[in-house]
C-alpha cells in the first residue's frame, strides 16, 4: 500500500513525507515523482492509495495530472499540496475531482484532518 507524492521540489517531497509520518500515516510506503507527467505514468502503472500533488510543476501541472488520471478512468483519491490556497484554486481543484487542497505552509494536524477520511 503506498502514497504517491508528486512535487518538482525534492525538499518539499521530503517535507510532505516527514509530515505524513508526523501525522501518524507511517504504515504506508511513499513513492515519489518530480512532475505531473511522471506522476501520471506512475499512478496508472501502479495505482496508489492516494496521490498528494503539487499544483505548479514543469512537464505537466498538477491539475493536468488529475485531469489525465480521471480521463484514463482512474478514481484514485487525489489531494493537492500547494502554495496557492485561495478560494479560486480550491474551487478549481474540487471541480477537477480533487478530494482536498492543503495549502503551504501546513502542519501535521492539517494533514491528519485532510487525509483521515480518505485513508480510512
Amino acid at each position: 500500500m503506498h502514497i504517491l507524492v508528486v512535487d518538482d521540489s525534492k525538499v518539499m517531497r521530503s517535507i510532505v513525507t516527514r509530515t505524513l509520518r508526523q501525522a501518524g500515516f507511517d504504515s504506508y510506503d511513499i513513492h515519489e515523482a518530480d512532475n505531473g507527467r511522471a506522476g501520471l505514468d506512475a499512478a496508472l502503472a501502479q495505482p496508489p492509495l492516494l496521490v498528494l500533488s503539487d499544483w505548479n510543476m514543469p512537464e505537466m501541472s498538477g491539475i493536468e495530472f488529475l485531469t489525465g488520471l480521471r480521463d484514463a478512468g482512474s478514481t484514485v483519491p487525489f489531494g493537492f499540496v500547494t502554495s496557492e490556497g485561495s478560494d479560486e484554486m480550491r474551487g478549481r481543484a474540487e471541480s477537477a475531482g480533487a478530494a482536498f487542497l492543503i495549502a503551504k505552509p501546513f502542519t501535521a494536524d492539517t494533514f491528519r484532518d485532510a487525509l483521515a477520511e480518505v485513508l480510512s
Binding site: D8, S83, E84, K104, T107
Partner: protein
C-alpha cells in the same frame, strides 16, 4: 542592493496590504519550517548572495523576489531538509530557496486579485545582484532576521501604462 520605490500606485492592490501582515505571513512560513525570525528594517538586509523569484500574471501582474545571504540560505535549506548546513549540495540549497519563494509567492498571490498564475521559481546565485523585471517596479520591501541571517522580500508591481 537598494531600491527606489515608485509611487504608482493608488490603483496597485499591493498598496492595500499591510507590510506588517506580509512580514507576519513570511514569519509563519519560516516558523512552519522550523525557523524562528523577527522583523527588521528592510534597509538593513544588505550584502545578499542569492535571489529567488516568482512572477504572478493575470488579474494582477508582478513578481515576488526573495533575497538571502549565503548563511541564511544554508540555514533555510538546513531547516527544510533537516540536514547540517555543510552537508548540503548547491542543488539542494537552490531547491530549498526556490521552494521558499514559491511558498511566500503563493501566499502573496492569494492576497491579490484573482485569477492569476504563479510561475515556477527562478533562483540566481551571486553577491549583491541587481535584478530587473521588465515593465515592473519595486513597490514594497520587507525583511526578517533568522538565526542564520536576513531574508528580504520585494514585491514588484507592473508599472502603470505598460
Amino acid at each position: 542592493m537598494s531600491h527606489t520605490f515608485e509611487a504608482s500606485l493608488a490603483s496597485d492592490p499591493v498598496q492595500a496590504i499591510s507590510p506588517d501582515e506580509l512580514s507576519e505571513a513570511l514569519g509563519e512560513v519560516l516558523s512552519s519550517l522550523g525557523m524562528e525570525s523577527f522583523p527588521i528594517e528592510a534597509e538593513t538586509a544588505q550584502d545578499l548572495d542569492v535571489s529567488g523569484s516568482v512572477t504572478i500574471s493575470g488579474e494582477w501582474n508582478g513578481a515576488v523576489q526573495m533575497e538571502l545571504t549565503d548563511s541564511s540560505q544554508r540555514g533555510a535549506a538546513s531547516a527544510m531538509f533537516m540536514m547540517e548546513p555543510d552537508a548540503l549540495s548547491l542543488e539542494e540549497i537552490v531547491d530549498a530557496v526556490g521552494e521558499l519563494v514559491n511558498m511566500v509567492g503563493g501566499g502573496i498571490k492569494g492576497m491579490l486579485p484573482e485569477p492569476s498564475r504563479l510561475s515556477l521559481p527562478t533562483v540566481v546565485q551571486g553577491h549583491d545582484l541587481h535584478l530587473s523585471f521588465p515593465g515592473m517596479s519595486p513597490s514594497l520591501r520587507y525583511a526578517r532576521a533568522t538565526e542564520s541571517g536576513p531574508i528580504a522580500v520585494t514585491i514588484w508591481s507592473e508599472t502603470s501604462g505598460t
